[in-house]
């Protein structure tokens, strides 16, 4: 079942169409990647989901019914440009933000205590935010985002500004949230983390949704019949063993051995390729190349341009 569906959403600013008939559907308890180049309309879509702005056309279905104003208390949002009141004390501020999300003061206090212990930041409670480093403030911000145990979490570029250790911790927390039943919308330019975390993605480009689906399916869909082979032997001999059904597209080194990427053109298959090269060289490894999300992203966006 889908926790959130956007149906034919359109949003126009005075002389700029930010979202053009965009539909997405986010399965419950998944991590959903929202990808796209800068200015594609991702932030506008996220703001519509957060009810910060309303769509001109289309509707948003939350939990199987049209979304209501009160539903924002079931959402946790970490915007890309984030900040806290600089002059306010950390604890006071976290308490305020939690209460705005509908928690009672007592519950908020109890939960904050747990999280502050977990992150070992109890000592910051009475510090002003301006005394914290950027990474420290990010931790506080993360806590305030998830404190009210939202069903839907929206992270916009969550890893920017984190060092690798904290980024890893954050990743673990995101996976934990999923384990606890939350659904996560994850907007980022970091394709590595998309491959690592996301189950589904949608790619928004120039105000339109141009690609949507399960991440494994998408990557398979975009594979280009390319194989990566590492071998011991003479590269010349390797090359001459191939006929015009194959194309060597890249020569590399794999773990200190010779390596090539070979593209299968037509009327052939991987077995035929193997039978051609085995007599010529000693084959060490033979893998199909599945395109990275980075490749898919670039390819799809480029294709869309043409």
């Amino acid at each position: 079942m889908e926790i959130l569906k956007a149906i034919n959403v359109e949003k126009k600013f005075v002389n700029h169409l930010a979202l053009d008939n965009v539909s997405i559907s986010i399965p419950e308890n998944s991590i959903y990647g929202l990808l796209g180049p800068n200015g594609a309309g991702k932030t506008t879509l996220i703001r519509i989901i957060n009810r910060i702005t309303a769509p001109d056309k289309g509707e948003v279905i939350f939990n199987g019914r049209p979304m209501k104003a009160d539903d924002v208390s079931l959402i946790g949002y970490l915007p890309e440009e984030r900040g806290l009141y600089k002059k306010m004390k950390v604890g006071e501020q976290a308490l305020y933000l939690a209460q705005l999300k509908g928690l009672s003061k007592r519950d908020a206090l109890k939960k904050l205590k747990l999280w502050f212990e977990k992150f070992e930041i109890q000592a910051w409670w009475d510090k002003k935010v301006e005394e914290l480093s950027k990474g420290m403030a990010q931790k506080v911000q993360f806590i305030t985002t998830i404190l009210h145990e939202p069903k839907l979490l929206i992270f916009d570029e969550p890893f920017s500004g984190f060092d690798p250790i904290n980024a890893n911790m954050l990743k673990q927390e995101i996976l934990d949230q999923k384990k606890n039943g939350a659904t996560i919308i994850f907007s980022t330019h970091n394709m590595g983390s998309v491959e690592e975390l996301c189950d589904h993605i949608t790619l928004i480009n120039k105000s339109r949704n141009i690609l949507e689906g399960q991440i494994d399916n998408i990557r398979k869909q975009y594979k280009s019949n390319t194989y990566e082979i590492s071998f011991n032997g003479d590269p010349e001999k390797f090359a001459s063993s191939l006929n015009n059904h194959y194309e060597i597209i890249e020569k590399t080194k794999i773990n200190g051995h010779q390596g090539v990427k070979v593209k299968l053109l037509h009327q052939t298959n991987e077995n035929e390729l193997l039978s051609l090269i085995i007599p010529a060289v000693e084959v060490l490894s033979f893998n199909e190349v599945i395109p990275s999300m980075n490749d898919v992203f670039i390819k799809v966006v480029q294709e869309y341009k043409n």
Binding site: F13, N50, Y77, Y96, Q99, L100, Q141
Partner: protein, 446 residues
């Protein structure tokens, strides 16, 4: 708890806990109290040394004419010249030597006052004053006008104003009190709008630059945030005013009982009243000391003639109405810019009506019924300031009602407008905004 309540509470508490608020709250009353106490204190500090002044009247016109006072003793000397005293001035025990030359009747500068110190202003003006009076009297006598005629010519007019209420009953009134009350009320509104409107604006800019705003508006509606901020700041302002009034009164009573136990209440009131009129320059200052206590109490009684129910009611209404009207506009400006230096271009349209209101107010204090005072007290952008000075003089209820109704309507209108600009502006960064852009924002749908 209700979200808007939470927001109001945060806006209120963070401001009230600030050091600058505490400092202002303590410094304000000290300044106000000083303003009221210092003149009284100075008055009580009169020079009580007895000063002997030798008078050498070479003209012979002023013999025994300059009368001694409690502290100034004049001694007429005929057997010594100025030069005789000059060399043993110290031993003579005189404070000063007054030399009047024969040419005094036609040459004003023919008077010299010698002393080893710079004689005080009070001494100098007393001598000059009595001599002028004496000379004038002598000249009048020379023209054949005798002193009794002179006395009967001296006239004094003091108008007692009495208002008739609807039933034709007398009501003692005082123009001066009406002016003072109106002036203070109008000025306080002006001050409040500027000071706390700017605080609203700075609060919005702070939220915008610290980027917290997107998090808040994903939890509460932007309009709730806007209203919460405006109301919260208003409560800060009211708290500050209340504390100022209470602390000022405490300090004044405290200082009075400790330092001037013999200083009567009336005395203090006189000093305050005098201070007030002097500042306004409405009543020539020298008239006041001449006023006897009865007249003063009658003025203070007349203060009761001002309809305080209507006055206080309208003051609170216009105070809040004016602040709310401008507060939302200030918030819109804060939302439209990225930092405080960019606010200048948008501040002008807000500042101009306020300053206009201020100018018209000063005029309306003298002529509360003039067409310009009427119109500016109806137009909502200036009415909170101008109407306040008209109310103590009595304003027809329909005018008051019209002005209030227009204020409420305009307040709703500007808040709606400001809300739209605010909504768009708080999430807009790095864009140089101009009026054309703002117009676009007004047409956005949410």
């Amino acid at each position: 708890m209700n979200k808007i309540k939470l927001i109001i509470l945060r806006e209120y508490l963070t401001r009230v806990k600030k050091k600058s608020f505490v400092v202002m709250t303590i410094l304000g009353p000290i300044l106000f109290a000083a303003l009221m106490i210092v003149p009284a204190w100075l008055a009580s500090m009169e020079d009580t040394d007895i000063k002997n002044i030798a008078v050498i009247d070479e003209s012979g016109v002023f013999i025994n004419k300059i009368e001694s006072t409690d502290y100034l003793k004049f001694e007429y000397i005929t057997d010594k010249t100025v030069n005789d005293i000059r060399h043993n001035f110290k031993e003579s025990g005189y404070y000063a030597v007054l030399q009047i030359m024969p040419s005094i009747t036609y040459e004003p500068s023919a008077v010299h006052l010698y002393s080893s110190k710079q004689p005080g202003f009070a001494v100098k003006s007393y001598i000059a004053g009595t001599m002028e009076k004496e000379l004038r009297n002598q000249k009048l006598r020379a023209q054949g006008i005798d002193e009794d005629v002179l006395k009967s010519i001296k006239s004094d007019v003091s108008i007692r104003t009495i208002q008739w209420d609807e039933d034709g009953e007398d009501k003692e009134s005082s123009t001066e009190i009406a002016m003072a009350v109106g002036y203070i009320g109008g000025f306080m509104i002006y001050f409040f709008i500027f000071m706390f409107g700017a605080q609203v604006m700075r609060g919005v800019i702070e939220e915008k630059t610290s980027r917290i705003v997107e998090i808040i508006v994903s939890s509460a509606r932007p309009f709730q945030l806007l209203m919460g901020k405006i109301v919260g700041v208003a409560m800060v302002g009211l708290t500050q005013f209340l504390l100022w009034i209470v602390l000022t009164l405490l300090i004044i009573t405290g200082v009075k009982t400790v330092m001037f136990p013999n200083l009567g209440t009336k005395n203090a009131q006189e000093v305050v009243a005098q201070d007030l009129f002097e500042q306004q320059n409405v009543v020539p200052a020298e008239n006041i000391p001449a006023q006897d206590m009865n007249e003063l109490t009658s003025i203070l009684n007349a203060a009761k003639s001002v309809d305080f129910g209507v006055l206080i009611g309208s003051f609170i209404f216009f105070f809040l109405g004016g602040y709310l009207l401008y507060g939302s506009l200030f918030a819109a400006i804060g939302a439209a810019v990225d930092n405080e230096t960019d606010t200048q271009q948008f501040m002008l349209p807000i500042t101009i009506p306020l300053i206009f209101g201020m100018i018209v107010m000063m005029n309306a204090v003298q002529t509360p019924e003039s067409p310009i005072a009427f119109w500016f007290s109806i137009i909502p952008f200036t009415s909170p300031i101008v109407m306040m000075v008209r109310i103590p003089f009595g304003v027809p209820y329909w005018e008051l009602a019209l002005s209030m109704a227009l204020l409420v309507l305009t307040f709703i209108g500007t808040t709606w407008m400001a809300g739209k600009i605010y909504r768009t502006g708080i999430l807009m960064y790095g864009k140089k905004v101009n009026y054309k852009e703002l117009w676009k924002w007004l047409r956005y749908k949410f």
